[in-house]
């Protein structure tokens, strides 16, 4: 005889686990944000902050890692397998990280601007400080790309010269200035002037560049922001203070131990010997410009404008004016003035160093060396550092292999 009551109790007991599970058949992914959620106006501050974060990542992958050893600002003293890069051999397969981060910073800013334009009214859009700041980030991302890549592609398109980034940057900085002025955002406006000054110069508009540079006070600095607590710490600090991967040893800055613009110290072991890098050989001459993972990279600064104007003066053959600008910059750092050189060649030599020291470890040196190398040996602006080295970052292997417009 089957006990009916016992079966019913047993069945009810077995069904209990199904009760109260309202969301049983849904997929949940808390912590990730759906694409459509970014179309809310309330999300725009975070959208623009994200542009800043991606630009930080792009700087960290380039200015704080690859570019210093590529351009002789630091010497590879570590165990990372980037010896080709350190020797100036820049191959597509080694550029996936750098290329990806720079392009992501550009795309996030540019697509974010389009997203905001599609949601905001024209009046709101053209007077928004967030939009102005987004244009500034887009301009800086394009400047970073333009200064460092050999050639490029936009949004999976065909190959184009690197100058397309300068063209986009000029337009974006201009929009940042105009909208920033309407939004009464002087920091964005000043930074955009500084950004536009440099890209105008690179496009040959030195007069326009000087005009913009004059808008930037000498003590102004617009920084790429790092925050170790949020997981985007300054990698250059980590590689030079935690791991000893890069050293000032064997660079031109080794010869200027007291230059406050390019500060470094010798690291000693407990035995009092000069410590060696992660490769076990190279003396550790440790950069002291970035002293924590929270240290920020200047992207636009007044002293950078002064050396830009000094270069313009030299291009015009005005040695005295060039030294005047260089010495103004040195004075800002508490340094004695330089005695103007007697020849244009010596003046360019000084400018090569002064610009390098002023913008040390800010991701600008490779472009400067490329410009000066391309001037040719007959030019007083000529700089030979890149003679046997690659001069720019190639389109990455990932982009080459995945972009159908580059397959041909």
């Amino acid at each position: 005889m089957i006990d009916v009551k016992r079966y019913k109790i047993a069945l009810a007991f077995l069904l209990i686990p199904l009760g109260g599970c309202d969301n049983l058949f849904t997929v949940e992914a808390p912590g990730r944000i759906a694409n459509d959620n970014l179309n809310e106006i309330a999300a725009f501050p975070a959208l623009v902050a994200g542009m800043s974060a991606d630009l930080t990542d792009a700087y960290d992958a380039t200015a704080n890692y690859t570019l210093p050893v590529t351009s002789g600002e630091l010497f590879h003293s570590g165990s990372y397998a980037i010896t080709d890069v350190a020797k100036g051999i820049l191959l597509p397969e080694d550029m996936n990280g750098e290329w990806g981060q720079m392009q992501q910073a550009r795309w996030v800013a540019e697509s974010g601007i389009e997203r905001m334009q599609g949601i905001l009214s024209d009046e709101q859009f053209n007077s928004s400080s967030l939009v102005a700041r987004a244009y500034l980030y887009a301009g800086l991302a394009n400047r970073l790309l333009g200064e460092n890549v050999c050639s490029t592609t936009i949004d999976g398109g065909p190959e184009q010269p690197n100058t397309v980034h300068f063209e986009r940057a000029i337009e974006q900085f201009t929009n940042a200035i105009e909208i920033g002025q309407r939004a009464a955002d002087p920091i964005t406006v000043t930074a955009a002037y500084g950004g536009r000054a440099s890209v105008r110069a690179w496009m040959g508009d030195w007069a326009g560049a000087v005009q913009d540079a004059q808008q930037v006070p000498v003590d102004f600095s617009f920084n790429i922001l790092f925050n170790s607590g949020a997981g985007n710490g300054n990698d250059l600090y980590i590689e030079t203070h935690d791991r000893y991967e890069f050293s000032v040893y064997n660079t031109i800055f080794e010869d200027h131990p007291d230059d406050p613009r390019a500060p470094w110290d010798t690291v000693f072991t407990g035995e009092g010997e000069v410590d060696t890098g992660a490769n076990g050989l190279t003396p550790v001459y440790q950069q002291q410009k970035y002293l924590s993972e929270d240290a920020d990279n200047p992207a636009v600064k007044g002293t950078g404008m002064l050396v830009l104007r000094a270069e313009n003066a030299l291009r015009n053959g005005d040695i005295g004016l060039a030294y005047s600008f260089m010495n103004d910059a040195r004075a800002f750092y508490g340094m004695d003035p330089l005695v103007p050189a007697s020849t244009i060649e010596e003046a360019w030599d000084d400018l090569h160093y002064e610009r390098g020291a002023t913008l040390w470890l800010e991701g600008r040196r490779l472009w400067d060396l490329r410009r000066w190398f391309n001037a040719g040996p007959s030019s007083p602006a000529y700089h030979p550092f890149l003679e046997d080295r690659d001069k720019c970052l190639p389109i990455s292997e990932e982009e080459r292999e995945s972009n159908p417009n580059l397959q041909a």
Binding site: I2, R32, S52, H76, W99, Q104, S228, A230, E401
Partner: protein
């Protein structure tokens, strides 16, 4: 027409039965009854068989023999009955008895051993319990008897080398480290390839989990099933067998059954094991062949130039170093004490049985501070409230604490530092540690490696309730509800004052995975006349996974003291990953049996999964199989060839995409020093669906020579279509993650053999051997237009090549005395073994002394030896010392003449390279170093274990039922040409984020992992 009508009739009866189940009422009638009692013994030894299954077909009655090998079945209707006795490893026996009211009939059985028991019941991959003879696919089973005396501590070690087609790969020799399992190769190009794991019918979380911090290894949930508790493991391997498990099952299914109670008085079993672990010698000062684990004197290495600044006159000369913190015996390796204790009791009454166990182990590693301690409890209860119902409640809890030594590709790691000698990171010491060291020597203080603390604490709770209701002999139902709770916490601390991070850091990682399982299956069996039996089954499963991973790292403590998250001045990082997903499906299956010798099975599984794209809907996976027992024919020569079954199966199963693969998502990020922001995360593919693996297999099972010889052979081919492939999008489109897309096709083929032989079977000598051989190959058929897809660490998926294979720069003239000719992007070979060979033997003398041994060969695959690569270019790889001195001479002379004169081969020049040397004309005088050159064949043969057991005569210990003592050794010898520390190692943290949650990983590399030690154990086992 008749058949169709009959089939409808069957379905109608089945439906009616289900309705009756729901209503909870079925009629029954009282009858006059008697009892049947008796015993079961082994025919050769006449020893009682415990747990033999006794059943009376047609009545639904049955039981298991008790601890004395006896049984009693009550309530047997009067009349004549056939009583069947079955036990794994033995052939079935049948007796006919006549039961009279109120009387006890007797049926005693002598069961003969058989190599392949076609009558044994199996459940994995089937809709209900079926006999092995009925299934059309191969099935491997490992029983408790096979592992009783061998030195294994968990289910992963049990599977090593014991089943064809199953590859178990360890990641570290540190005690407490888990392994990964791969069955029949790589069927997916992007998803995990770990088999599904069931424990007593409950699906549990099946993926290894990185332990976080600096140990760069993993733990596995399978470690938490104690070997002492395991009764049997069943393995089904491919889609042809796993169809009823649906989406997720294409990588196979492993089901573990733990021990259950047996009616009778309580039987206690206790085991005490002690011993030690030790590393084989890796270095000596006279012949430091690889790594500098000895440290009690002056060590020396070659000065190389893997950068540009080594003075040419120093190149190739020796530099020397010492370590004043070296242990007194001059070697970092220690002998680790091994202790393991277990106690269990099982027993029960007629309707209630129980199995309770507890175990504790405390095992020290072979390095200072390294150890693992775990303890577990298990309670398995079964009761039958009425004859037709069996309820089982199986619950276990395991807590494990492992202290690791930092290891692997980690600047704070053990083998990286001591192995690199003067190119390590623990240079200079703290305070006065290097006082007294000559200025001519470099001072290293590697003892600081052990100052960091990395502890993993895991809690694993598994519970499952299974109700089996067989209201009639024809109608059976099984309902299972289970819950798997798996929590892992890892804390990595560098205390204040640490040599490499003086202000300290603290990293806290937490992973919690829970899985809810609900399953129902029902079968209805019906006869179509005398010869045809129909079994119709339906069922359904629902699984709900919830996962949460959090991590936080802080640094810079104000001073000494216990570091906490709060006391770190700097927040270095934090992370979180959470998801919940559901998979549900139903299945239907029809099996027709003809004359109990031909069985045809057709089934279909229909699945939904919350990871599928919106338009994808439900997915159907069909199966078809046949089993034909030729040995049941009268013409079969059963006098010497007892059983022969042909089998064939074809079926499909799938693999779901990752939980986020369908969505375009953004991640929150902290920007501008504290503002919230968004950054691109998953690019998303709204059209994504599961990949589908279709497998065909065929083979036979044979047993002959009175059970002395058993042969199983299987050939299979599995083709995965719509394979999920991570398609790289142009980075200029903004998303740097790949888009998972259903575009690929991969094919796996293989042959599997298992031969079991009773070479000698006399009253005093019993000698059995078992050999299994697996030959596997895979090929990528289609990548959907992708030229290649990186599988990490030099491993790639490429059309026409194994999935995956290593590619890179390869020396084409390795043995020529010349500069190397190097081909770019050349194939090295498969990442995973293509040839497996497992050999085990058991020799028993006078029923007292038993010798067990197991050896395993894995071959056909490659492994990047990053340990060799990194050491060689740093001048601390002994086999390169002579070569590098000549390379230095060649560099100084700007000529390869010294190399040619010394007979230095192309391979030696490349492997021992100290950096590219340019000739005056800009050409390459000496080749550059490259890690590609260190991709090596990783074939190995290992003597996994040897054990010697002595069964103590009962008169010596009169209070016991039986007692034994076992002396065993594990991982005793390795034969391999691989030049790294061990050909099985893997830096697990190469896997994404050190925490694997779905998603496959394929590019293994050996990167300074501590190799597995030898283990020597003495066990005392007693039951009373």
């Amino acid at each position: 027409m008749y058949a169709l009508t009959r089939h409808r009739s069957t379905l109608a009866r089945f439906a009616a039965a289900v309705v009756l189940v729901t209503l909870g009422a079925l009629p029954a009638s009282a009858q006059e009854t008697g009892t049947i009692r008796g015993s079961a013994v082994a025919a050769t030894t006449m020893q009682p068989l415990i747990g033999a299954q006794i059943s009376i077909p047609g009545t639904g009655l049955g039981t298991l023999t008790n601890s004395s090998g006896e049984y009693l079945i009550v309530g047997v209707p009067v009349g004549q009955h056939e009583v069947h006795a079955q036990m794994i490893g033995f052939g079935e026996a049948v007796a006919t008895v006549n039961v009279t009211a109120g009387e006890a009939a007797v049926a005693n059985f002598e069961l003969s051993e058989t190599a392949i028991a076609l009558e044994e019941l199996v459940v994995t991959g089937t809709a209900a319990d079926v006999r092995r003879k009925e299934i059309g696919n191969s099935l491997e089973a490992v029983t408790a008897a096979e592992i009783e005396n061998v030195p294994v501590s968990n289910s992963m070690e049990i599977l090593q080398g014991r089943a064809p087609g199953v590859t178990v790969m360890t990641s570290s020799g540190q005690v407490g480290a888990g392994s990964t399992i791969k069955i029949r190769g790589t069927t997916s190009l992007s998803q995990d390839t770990e088999p599904l794991i069931y424990v007593d019918g409950i699906r549990i979380f099946n993926l290894p989990t990185g332990v976080g911090g600096g140990a760069r290894t993993a733990v596995s949930p399978l470690q938490d099933i104690a070997a002492e508790d395991i009764s049997r493991i069943e393995i089904i391997k491919g889609a042809a067998a796993t169809t009823l498990y649906g989406t997720e099952a294409s990588a196979g299914v492993v089901q573990i059954f733990t021990k259950r109670g047996v009616a009778g008085e309580a039987i206690w079993s206790a085991e005490v094991t002690t011993g030690f672990r030790s590393q084989p010698d890796m270095t000596s000062f006279d012949d430091p062949n690889q790594l500098f684990t000895q440290c009690g004197g002056v060590m020396r290495g070659i000065i190389t130039s893997d950068d540009e600044d080594t003075p040419e006159n120093e190149l190739g000369t020796f530099t020397e170093w010492v370590d004043p913190t070296c242990p007194a015996d001059g070697d970092w390796w220690e002998k680790g004490l091994h202790q393991n204790y277990s106690l269990s009791v099982r027993g029960g009454a007629e309707n209630v049985t129980y199995y309770l166990s507890g175990n504790y182990s405390d095992i020290e590693g072979t390095l200072p501070t390294q150890n693992s301690r775990d303890g577990g409890l298990r309670g398995n209860f079964s009761f039958s409230p009425v004859n037709e119902v069996d309820v089982s409640l199986n619950t276990s809890y395991t807590r494990r604490s492992t202290r690791w030594v930092e290891d692997g590709n980690n600047a704070d790691g053990f083998l990286l530092n001591v192995g690199r000698g003067y190119r390590g990171y623990m240079r200079g010491g703290i305070a006065d540690e290097c006082d007294g060291v000559s200025e001519d020597l470099i001072c290293f203080t590697n003892t600081h490696i052990f100052n960091s603390e990395l502890v993993t604490l895991s809690d694993h709770f598994i519970t499952g309730l299974t109700t089996q209701w067989n209201p009639t002999e024809e109608f059976s139902n099984r309902f299972t509800a289970g819950w798997d709770y798996y929590k892992i916490n890892s804390e990595n601390t560098h205390p204040f004052g640490h040599i490499r991070s003086p202000e300290g850091f603290f990293d806290d990682d937490n992973t919690l995975h829970t899985k809810l399982s609900l399953e129902y299956s029902g079968s209805y069996r019906d006869n179509f006349g005398e010869n045809i039996v129909s079994t119709t089954s339906i069922g359904g499963q629902l699984f709900r996974d919830q996962h949460r991973y959090t991590s936080i790292t802080v640094s810079e403590f104000a001073g000494p003291g216990e570091p906490t998250i709060e006391t770190g001045a700097v927040l270095d990082g934090r992370g979180e990953l959470r998801f919940a997903s559901t998979s549900a499906g139903v299945f239907a299956q029809e099996q027709l049996g003809w004359k109990d010798r031909l069985f045809l099975t057709a089934g279909i599984r229909v699945d939904g999964n919350s990871a599928f794209g919106e338009e994808f809907g439900l997915q159907a996976y069909p199966k078809l199989s046949a089993a034909y027992v030729l040995s049941d024919y009268d013409f079969w020569p059963t006098s010497w060839w007892e059983t022969f079954k042909l089998r064939a199966a074809a079926g499909m199963s799938g693999k779901a995409p990752g939980a986020f693969d369908r969505f375009r998502t953004w991640s929150p990020v902290s920007a501008n020093e504290g503002e919230p922001g968004f950054t691109p995360n998953d690019v998303g593919n709204p059209d994504i669906g599961p990949e589908r693996t279709f497998e065909v297999e065929g083979g036979f099972d044979a047993s002959m020579l009175n059970g002395r010889l058993g042969i199983e052979a299987t050939a299979y081919q599995a083709t995965t279509t719509d394979a999920l492939v991570g398609v790289t999008l142009p980075p200029s489109l903004g998303f740097l993650s790949s888009r998972t897309t259903n575009i690929g096709e991969v094919r796996n083929r293989g042959l599997e053999f298992q031969v079991t032989g009773g070479l000698v079977r006399t009253a005093n000598v019993d000698w059995q051997v078992r050999t299994n051989i697996s030959l596997m190959s895979s090929e990528i058929i289609d990548l959907g237009g992708e030229q290649e897809i990186s599988a990490d660490n030099k491993a790639y998926f490429k059309e026409g090549f194994p999935a995956p294979a290593y590619f890179g720069k390869k020396i084409m003239n390795p043995d020529e005395v010349a500069n190397p000719i190097i081909e770019d992007n050349a194939e090295y070979g498969p990442v995973f073994p293509t040839h497996l060979l497992g050999m085990s033997t058991t020799l028993t003398l006078w029923d007292r002394l038993t010798l067990n041994a197991l050896a395993e060969y894995q071959g056909g695959h490659f492994l990047p030896n990053y340990t060799g690569y990194q050491n060689a270019r740093r001048g601390v790889w002994y086999p390169c010392y002579d070569v590098q001195q000549i390379l230095a001479e060649a560099t100084r002379l700007q000529s390869t003449a010294p190399l040619d004169e010394a007979g230095i081969t192309a391979a030696q020049r490349a492997l021992c390279s100290m950096g590219r040397v340019e000739a005056e004309d800009g050409s390459t005088l000496l080749p550059d170093y490259d890690s590609d050159f260190w991709i090596e064949p990783a074939d190995f043969l290992k003597l996994r274990s040897v054990s010697l057991t002595y069964a103590i005569p009962s008169e010596w210990l009169s209070f016991t039922r039986n007692a034994s003592v076992t002396l065993s050794g594990a991982n005793l010898f390795t034969w391999s040409d691989y030049t790294g520390a061990d050909p099985e190692m893997e830096d697990f943290a190469d896997r994404s984020g050190e925490t694997l949650v779905g998603g496959g990983f394929f590019g293994r590399r050996d990167y300074y992992q501590v190799p597995p030690p030898r283990t020597f154990l003495l066990s005392f086992r007693v039951s009373f």
